[in-house]
Symmetry: C2
Subunit: 575 residues, 2 copies
């Protein structure tokens, strides 16, 4: 008796069929989009879905939470609305691995009954539908992490983060796509294919949490869970005009996710929120950390969430007002950002420059190319043996961006322990130098290039130091599919383990963003990026930026963005 092994194509077909069935199970049925679609599909839901669905799904996250907590909206109605819109988003952008209408509505009913019976909400996320990247375990469901050979791995339990979010009242209703090996800044795998950007379907939604990005760009979710080791929360947040936070490591629980390289801690992957609103990011962080996740996951830091509503973490100006010192790092010195990004930077800077509560400081990059050497050497310390095995086991093809980061990456080697320790020392040495760089940018102390001994006067100059860095999220807006080949603007902060928060400027790329003429590229990466840019390629792509804080200053980072948004009048609209 011969057992025939299923081909990878058969496995993919079965998963696509399953997804179709879960979408078909949503009531009322999700309308099919027209065959002929514009590149920008974000307007389609308004044409096809009821006004009530549009209204609910476009309510800001914090307002939705208020209405759910008070019973003004039922969780059942809100969940139904997001199921509708997410189902349609899936048809338009291919961002979903499966819908969970039955689970979600059963849960929503429980939540509604709880409020009716107890007269109070379950917790701060009472009744809110939350979307979840596929590799975060949901009990009884597939956790393939984007590998065909892993299809059929069934999660034995919910990931810790889901338990804590559920404790707070959340409803899980949809699971979202991710790329092969979870290591592209795009989203493409051999099970579900390519996830596209709703603002311009010829562009990528970003990755690896690109399913979350496209879904939320379509307002098919207002709060979701992504993961990030090189930009995987921030790239999709940026590409789809969302807020996305890569928290400092060991603040949120990662227990129960499905991935290669479990046990590797050389570069620490993190989990974090994407949201259509900054308040969504904040409530996500606070809700999880208020539950003392270190009681369950011992690698987490025993560090309560600092409540900025009661105590500002920012420095005060001489008039007693908050005065924020913002470092400006517009260009990392390796790859020059495209014109739309620089327009976004300049627009915001021009608003901040004149404000009395803000001080802008030039923040030069410090050896960002060295950061990439270190981090790309530490990503796959076993020479990517686990990824190779997981891909080759099914015979699925290696996708171009998987080749880019693994086989074409000269830094990927099966390291000896001794080599690993050497690179770890390089990492810590670089981090120490960057810390000194931050300490000294505005303080007159000797910087990391000074060969002098380590000086310990920094504390006294603390008040002169930059609070946060304003910087691009990438070398351009969402690039065309297959072209996200420069990670430096996000991976830089993974190496340093600085919290980094992406936000939309509200601006969109367009014809006004003329290509620079006569530019002489600095290197091959810069040349690739420069040649990628044509204004017509990027039409409607959201222009997003990134705010970066010091390690463990996640709360202050959020507070700083609140202040910047207020004083600079974000978001903007194209003229």
């Amino acid at each position: 008796m011969t057992e025939t092994k299923k081909s990878w194509q058969d496995i993919s077909a079965a998963m696509l069929k399953h997804r179709e069935q879960t979408i078909a199970a949503i009531e009322p049925a999700i309308p099919d989009p027209p065959k002929e679609l514009p590149l920008n599909v974000t307007g389609i839901p308004k044409q096809l879905l009821p006004a009530e669905v549009i209204s609910i799904t476009e309510t800001p996250t914090e307002k939705l939470l208020q209405k759910l907590a008070s019973g003004t909206l039922s969780s059942t109605d809100v969940t139904k609305a997001f199921l509708q819109r997410a189902g349609l988003a899936s048809k338009l952008t291919n961002c979903v691995t499966e819908m969970l209408p039955e689970r979600a509505l059963t849960r929503a009913k429980y939540v509604d009954d709880y409020l009716a019976t107890h007269g109070k909400p379950i917790g701060p996320l009472h009744g809110l539908p939350i979307s979840v990247k596929e590799h975060v375990s949901m009990k009884g469901l597939d956790i393939n992490a984007g590998f065909v050979s892993w299809v059929g791995r069934i999660a034995p339990d919910d990931a810790l983060i889901l338990k804590l979010l559920r404790n707070a009242g959340a409803v899980f209703y949809v699971r979202t796509t991710e790329p092969q090996a979870l290591m592209h800044l795009e989203t493409d795998n051999n099970i579900y294919g390519v996830t596209v950007n709703p603002y311009n379907t010829a562009l990528t939604s970003g990755g690896s949490s690109g399913g979350e990005g496209a879904l939320m760009g379509m307002h098919g979710s207002c709060l979701g869970i992504g993961t990030d080791i090189g930009g995987s929360i921030r790239s999709p947040a940026a590409n789809n005009g969302l807020f996305g936070l890569r928290p400092t490591s060991y603040r949120l629980p990662v227990g129960g996710w499905s991935a290669t390289m479990l046990g590797s801690e050389h570069i620490v992957p993190v989990i974090g929120p994407l949201s259509t609103s900054l308040d969504g990011v904040k409530v996500f962080m606070k809700t999880l950390i208020d539950q003392q996740p270190w009681l369950y996951e011992p690698s987490l830091i025993t560090m309560p969430w600092k409540d900025t509503s009661t105590a500002s973490l920012l420095r005060k100006g001489s008039d007693g007002k908050r005065k924020l010192r913002v470092g400006i790092l517009a260009d990392d010195g390796v790859v020059k950002p495209h014109p739309p990004i620089l327009r976004g930077m300049n627009t915001l800077i021009s608003k901040l420059r004149s404000h009395p509560d803000i001080e802008l400081v030039d923040f030069p990059p410090y050896k960002h190319e060295e950061a990439w050497r270190i981090i790309s050497s530490l990503y796959f310390a076993d020479g990517a043996a686990e990824e190779r095995e997981a891909i080759d086991a099914s015979g699925e093809p290696w996708l171009p961006l998987t080749k880019f980061i693994i086989t074409d990456n000269p830094n990927v080697k099966n390291l000896t322990v001794s080599e690993l320790w050497g690179l770890t020392q390089d990492r810590e040495g670089y981090k120490a130098a960057y810390t000194q760089h931050w300490n000294t940018v505005n303080t007159g102390l000797p910087g990391p290039e000074a060969k002098a001994e380590l000086r310990v006067e920094a504390m006294a100059e603390r008040d002169k130091m930059v609070d946060v860095i304003l910087t691009p999220t990438g070398p351009g807006c969402a690039p065309p599919h297959g072209c996200a080949r420069y990670w430096g603007y996000t991976s830089q902060w993974n190496l340093l383990d600085y919290p980094s928060l992406v936000f939309p400027t509200g601006l969109k790329a367009g014809a006004e963003d003329k290509a620079e003429e006569g530019y002489a590229p600095r290197n091959e990466q810069d040349k690739y990026n420069f040649e990628l840019y044509k204004p017509e390629t990027y039409v409607d792509a959201p222009i997003s930026l990134q705010l970066v804080g010091r390690r463990y200053e996640d709360e202050k980072l959020i507070e700083a963005l609140e202040m910047i948004s207020e004083v600079a009048g974000l978001p903007y609209k194209n003229q």
Copy 2:
């Protein structure tokens, strides 16, 4: 022309001569001890040194700091007194690698002048002499870390911790011994020989910070710096009747120490204080953390020191008083402690049991033998290649306890990255299980053995949880030289990264601690330990115990010991 390589014996002789010269440079000259000495040499200083020296060196650390800050005592006088007593301690216990009279007195004069000029102290450690384990870099001095072949390595700069302590006013005056490879719970190397226990010179001072231990047991220092990856602060603290804290990792800066395996982070070594008083431990921690060391060493956690003088971290009883829940772990289930240790535990427990502000809870061990398998597999992940090279380079002999922990240790292997990740997962799995164990010991929640899913109700039961664990510091008091072969009572907390604080009960081992008769040992280690015990071997050995807290609760741990000391009337005296 042939260059003759110096033999390891010649190198050792030169270092011993150098030490002798630095002791001879102290004024007035250190008296030579009598040729015939009792086993307990702690009484010798009173016979040989002036009353003023005895008085200063036996002043509690916190009182000394007050007198120095107010100018009641000059730093010069205090430094001279400690130079005297440390020089004598060296002659009696072989605990010093070199004395630093010139540096120290120059610094003391600076400190005294500062107070005279400015009318205020430099900082919280104003003028206090602090002793330093040899491998903590001092600019311009040898940093051999106990390897003969490393003799002649000169520190290019001071370790960060020394800079911060100096900022606070400290004076460095003596450097102390450590064992070969820094990996014995004793102190013996081929440069300086064996450091002995001042209470009973046939016993070990412990290690690896055993120079600190013996020096402080002789009152040749009141506050010093040790390092710990398996018990190296706590074993010498316990063996010499001292306070010693292994802090949670990444709270104090380790930058600038000399050691093998730099870049290894599988088991994180820490630096911390030993002191003759609990207040010494506390002021050390607070002084360093108040200087925001994370501004200089980026691996450190941005976690301010919580000041327990203004806010108690302990739970309050119903009467508004502090009520402390103490877990009792008297026996780790692997090696049964000797009778003196159990007497120490029982004496303290009997005082605590009747107190209304204390609740005692049985805290069973959870798989401590598995903890040893994991930690001893992760200590030398390169198969101890660096230690082998450092030892063999000079031809110095492998000492028995180096063989014990490296060549005779079946868990030492040159790991592949993949094996390393597997062991790291084992480590995190064990830590998660132990956390659940702690969560559930007194709360009625399912423990780690329950096959149920991870439950997240623990937070609600937080008030029922044990605050701190009271446990032995080892399977006996200081053992005879060469016999410290069970690390479990200390290494357990390194693996879990729980802060652990050793304290003296004030009791001493003696004839009253009869050997148990007819005991059937559980295993080879237990048999070894059982057979080691004879009451006459351990005469006068201090009986110390250990208090263990949850990760990052260093401040609460110290506060708990303050409370226990007060309500239980520590220290005791033998009847």
